[in-house]
Amino acid sequence: MYQPDSVNDVRSWARVASTGSRRHARRTVEVVRTATRTIDESFGSPLPDDRRPDRLRHQMQVGGSLSCSRSLTCSLTHSPILVLHQVQQLEVQRTQLDYHEAVHYATTAARRHTEALEARITRLHDDVSLARTATKRHAVALERVMPRNLKSTTIQARLPAIRQWHAGVKVLVQDKDGRRPAASTSPVDTVQGRFPFAQRFNFDEVPLAFIPGQDYTYEDQGSATVHIRQPGSGALTKRMGTLVVLVCGDGTMLHPCLSSAAKATSRPKSALPTTKTCLSCSSRRLGWTTPPRWPTRAKCWTPSWLRAASSLV
C-alpha cells in the first residue's frame, strides 16, 4: 500500500521557503547597512558600536528631525537608530512569518495530497470489491491469455494416431531402400538406420508475443478459449516475432532464427543474419513465416488458343 512521504514534502517546501527567506534577509541586511552608513555620515563620524546606546539616548533627549537617506525618513520624535532597530525587527518578523507561512502551506498541501491518496485508495478498494462481486455474480474468472493447451480431445483419444505416426517413422528409418541410389547402395547402420542422428532435424516455430503485463484477462468460467484484443492499431501486436528453433538428432541445438515483424527497409544492419552470432535475425511483414502467395493473374495467364484447346478436351 502506498504511504505518502509527507515529511519529505514538507522539507522540500520548507527548503524553498528558507531559500527565499535567506534572500529576503540578505536584502534586509543590505538596507540596514546602507541606512546605518547614511546615519554615520550625517553625524560626521562613524559611531562605534559600544557608543551607540549613548548616542541613542542623546537623540531621544534632544529630538528633532533627521534625514537618514532618500528612501528612509525618520520621524521627528524618534532616533534614526531606533527606527533602524524597529525596521530590523520588522524585517526579522516578516522573514519568520514568510517561513512559517511556507511551512504551513507545505503542510497543508501534504495533508491534502495524503487525503486525496487515501480517498483514491478507498475508491480502488471499492472497485476491487465491486469487481469481485461482479465476477461471482456473472461467473467470470480470471483466465490466462498466454498460450495453453487448447486441444479438446484427450491424449487417450489421440494415442492411436500418435502410435501410428511412430510406427511410420520406425518403418521409414529402418527402410534399406533409400530414395537416392547412391545412398541406398551404402551400408545401413544397424543402430541409426537409414538416417544418421546428425542428419535428423526437428523444426518448429515458436510465436513471441510482446505483451508484458497482460497475461490474464476476464473470461467466462470454464471457457476453452480466451479472446483478447491487443493494444495498438491492428492485431499484429499479438505476435511481434517468431523464433524458429532447429534441433538436430545428435542433441545439438542449432542457431535459432528470429523473424521479427518489420519492414526490410527499416531493418538495422546489425540485425542481418550472421554466422558469428548465436541468433540470426530476419524481418518479415507479418512477423511469422507464411507460404508464398498464389501466382498472380499475370503469371497464370494462358493464351486464348490454349484455353480453347483445353476447353475442347
Binding site: 547412391a182 545412398a183 538416417f195 535428423r200 526437428n202 523444426f203 518448429d204 515458436v206 532447429l246 542457431h255
Partner: protein, 72 residues
C-alpha cells in the same frame, strides 16, 4: 536458416550419397510446394507430424527452448 546447417552436414544440392530427415508440424508455410522443393533438392525428407498432435510429438515443445518460451 536451414541452408548453412544442412550444408555443414553435407546436405547440399548435387550430393546424392546422403539423406536427411526433417520433422515438421503442419504449418502452411511448411507444407507449401516451394519449401518442399527446396528441401528435396538437398536430399532431405520432410516428415510431418500427425495433425493435432504437435504438442505431443514436437520435440521442441517438450522441454527445449520453445517450451520455456511458451510456458513463460
Amino acid at each position: 536458416m536451414l541452408d548453412p546447417e544442412l550444408a555443414a552436414r553435407g546436405l547440399v544440392p548435387g550430393v546424392t550419397d546422403k539423406e536427411g530427415l526433417l520433422f515438421l508440424d503442419n504449418l502452411a508455410a511448411h507444407r507449401c510446394n516451394t519449401f518442399k522443393v527446396y528441401v528435396k533438392k538437398r536430399g532431405v525428407l520432410c516428415w510431418y507430424h500427425s495433425p493435432g498432435d504437435t504438442d505431443v510429438l514436437q520435440v521442441v515443445d517438450a522441454g527445449s527452448l520453445g517450451a520455456i518460451i511458451k510456458r513463460n
